[in-house]
């Protein structure tokens, strides 16, 4: 059996907003599906497999993803699955489904109303439930502990962090979906020392959908970005167990995905400025690689779709001809615990035995 070539053939997202929509996501998703399918030149009945990513704890109730199926119009019944992760991992599941020959097309979506609860407190529940979560350390403080380790080790500087924020906000000026734009106040007060407001992603509500296709379906689409490698890895969570200044899971995923040296663009899912710097080092990205032309998660971070949106943004760079080779990256968990790498290319080329290629 020859391995099918798979491409991203459509992407759409809702505007990243401080507050919008419902926790069910249904009304937000309907137009996003329509746009993504229109971009792909497909009807919803042409989709072989649907896969989503979301979180019950964002909505504050069990089975919150079930309602979102209403947005699909799932009757007659569909082939469908869901991950309790960022939708970038739903993308991975759909990609594998196509590789396995069980589908030719797939629509992947993620959604979340991050503003429904106090996000940075809700995210404390991702931490070890016996020895960490009962202290309720918020997600910004956890990121700050990582940032200081990197600063103390001389791996990054506050100046470099501020430059990341400034570049991201300047790039977001051209992104109609971005939530945050404009200048950076380098003397802004600390949210959690050493992180200032501009070092942290905003709390964003949103959704995104991405369409995958293989073989003739991909060739028939109006535009495409071929997927030449996808891999993901997770590190142990213990914040005092691992060296938080390195990102071994990102490095390993890049190796497994066959991250090329001649990338034009990288869309990195870095909700904090220092995390972009750590990721660039972990992935060995050279200075010529254009980072986050969308403005990245620092300018809009809709939980559970922001990682998928990085893959979508990277694919748009390739589909529009602005880039020949692009990287889409997603992260999940505290302090860059879990990472996914997706390499996109304007051309398809022979497999080199990469994992999940």
């Amino acid at each position: 059996m020859s391995t099918p070539r798979v491409a991203v053939v459509g992407f759409a997202q809702a505007p990243n907003l401080a507050s919008a929509g419902t926790t069910s996501g249904v009304e937000t998703l309907v137009p996003v599906f329509r746009q993504a399918l229109a971009n792909a030149g497909l009807d919803r009945r042409d989709v072989d497999f649907w896969c989503s990513g979301s979180s019950d704890y964002l909505a504050g109730r069990a089975f919150s993803f079930v309602n979102a199926v209403d947005a699909i119009g799932a009757y007659p019944p569909i082939c469908e699955s869901h991950v309790e992760m960022d939708a970038a991992w739903a993308f991975y599941e759909a990609y594998v489904k196509i590789l396995a020959g069980e589908a030719e097309t797939a629509l992947v979506y993620g959604f979340g109303k991050s503003s429904a609860g106090l996000l940075r407190r809700v995210l404390a529940l991702q931490l070890d439930p016996y020895v960490v979560a009962p202290l309720w350390p918020d997600s910004v403080s956890v990121a700050a502990l990582q940032a200081r380790l990197a600063l103390d080790a001389g791996i990054i500087t506050e100046k470099a962090m501020a430059e990341v924020a400034a570049r991201s906000r300047a790039d977001a000026a051209d992104n109609p979906y971005a939530q945050v734009r404009g200048p950076v106040d380098t003397d802004a007060p600390y949210l959690a020392d050493p992180l200032r407001v501009h070092d942290c992603a905003p709390v964003s509500d949103g959704a995104a959908a991405l369409v995958l296709a293989s073989g003739d379906c991909a060739l028939a689409a109006p535009q495409r970005a071929w997927i030449t490698g996808v891999a993901h890895r997770i590190d142990p969570q213990g914040l005092g167990e691992r060296d938080l200044t390195t990102v071994p899971s990102a490095t390993a995923a890049a190796e497994a995905a066959g991250l090329p040296d001649d990338l034009d663009v990288a869309e990195l899912h870095a909700p904090f400025t220092h995390q972009e710097l750590l990721l660039r080092a972990a992935l060995g990205l050279r200075d010529r690689v254009r980072i986050n032309p969308s403005g990245g998660a620092l300018c809009g971070n809709p939980m559970f779709s922001a990682g998928l949106a990085r893959i979508g943004a990277a694919a748009e760079q390739v589909m529009s001809g602005r880039a020949r080779r692009a990287l889409g990256h997603a992260t999940s968990g505290p302090a860059l615990q879990q990472n996914l790498i997706c390499v996109l290319d304007a051309e398809t080329h022979e497999a080199e035995g990469r994992e999940a290629e």
Binding site: T23, D70, V131, L135, S141, R148, L149
Partner: protein
């Protein structure tokens, strides 16, 4: 759009297993235990399984209650549930004798007292139950250690962890329109432009994935399609069992709604005709609770064929 608070809370009961159970029992007795992995490293808090060999870790050793800050940050406005209710520092702290760091709060008073490499020691909670919060927080400096209390030998198997979260629940545009109509004593349906079915409450048509549009008034009379008699008590219940929860197909709607049928309860049957019993109009607000329950109307039953396809 309408919004309202949604608060959830539960006291979770965490069973600990052999390693975490001994660790928590140690905290109760003012001792900190770490687990030793095959490479000789001592992990605090303890790991349950060896990261390299995957074998269960059984060798627990005591470490000091003093340690060194490896990294820190500062919280000006503590959040609900955090260890201190005044500004404090979070820190990764490596206890003397341990090879890994634990996360906890440092009661340093002001930000400028926090620094990487600072020495800290545990402030024990006066009330200890075998819980990570038996460590109230850390304090700056290497104070004379408080001797451990006598080992009671009592194992700790469960730790209770309250989780309280507050959300703001927001309705969709269609839902808001429906709720505003309810506040006026009206039941509002909407028809799907594709399948032409009438949905109450209005929503995106789940069969077609398009918003329902055309407004259709729906009567507050209907037919019981099927039902169950609830005899079992459970948390969050509003009525005392036994009571009947029925699927009720409102006249003019194409999808049933669940509701209580009260009055003549023993006689509730498939096909029974029922009508809504409303709160007094002066109490109507934007809530489905304006309809308290349904009551039998005494009309002849609807024939099975008339609701067969709604089962």
């Amino acid at each position: 759009m309408l919004s309202a608070p949604l608060n959830i809370g539960f006291d979770y009961t965490r069973s600990l297993g052999p390693v975490l159970g001994r660790f928590m029992a140690g905290l109760r007795d003012r001792r900190v235990l770490g687990s030793r992995s095959a490479d000789g490293r001592i992990h605090v808090p303890p790991l349950e399984y060896d990261p390299a060999t995957h074998a269960p870790l059984t060798d627990l050793v005591e470490v000091a209650s003093t340690g060194t800050v490896l990294s820190w940050t500062w919280t000006d406005h503590p959040l609900e549930g955090q260890p201190l209710d005044r500004p404090f520092g979070w820190a990764l702290i490596r206890l003397d004798g341990a090879d890994t760091a634990m996360l906890h709060a440092v009661d340093a008073g002001t930000r400028d007292r926090m620094q990487t490499g600072m020495r800290v020691h545990i402030r024990w909670s006066p009330e200890r139950t075998g819980h990570i919060r038996d460590i109230e927080c850390f304090e700056p400096g290497s104070a004379a250690p408080v001797p451990p209390s006598a080992d009671t030998g009592e194992p700790v198997t469960i730790m209770t962890t309250p989780i309280r979260l507050s959300y703001t629940h927001t309705t969709s545009t269609d839902e808001s329109r429906y709720l505003r109509a309810l506040a006026e004593g009206r039941l509002l349906g909407q028809r799907c432009p594709v399948c032409h079915k009438v949905y109450v409450p209005p929503r995106v048509c789940p069969a077609d994935g398009v918003p329902t549009e055309e407004e259709v008034p729906v009567r507050d009379h209907g037919t019981v399609t099927t039902f169950c008699v609830v005899n079992v008590p459970f948390p969050g219940q509003r009525l005392d069992p036994p009571y009947v929860v029925a699927q009720i197909l409102l006249d003019g709607a194409d999808i049933p709604i669940p509701h209580f049928v009260i009055g003549d309860a023993g006689q509730v049957r498939m096909g029974m005709r029922v009508a809504a019993v409303w709160r007094p109009p002066e109490d109507w607000t934007t809530t489905p609770e304006n309809i308290v329950h349904f009551r039998p109307t005494g009309e002849p039953d609807a024939p099975y064929e008339s609701f067969e396809e709604h089962l």
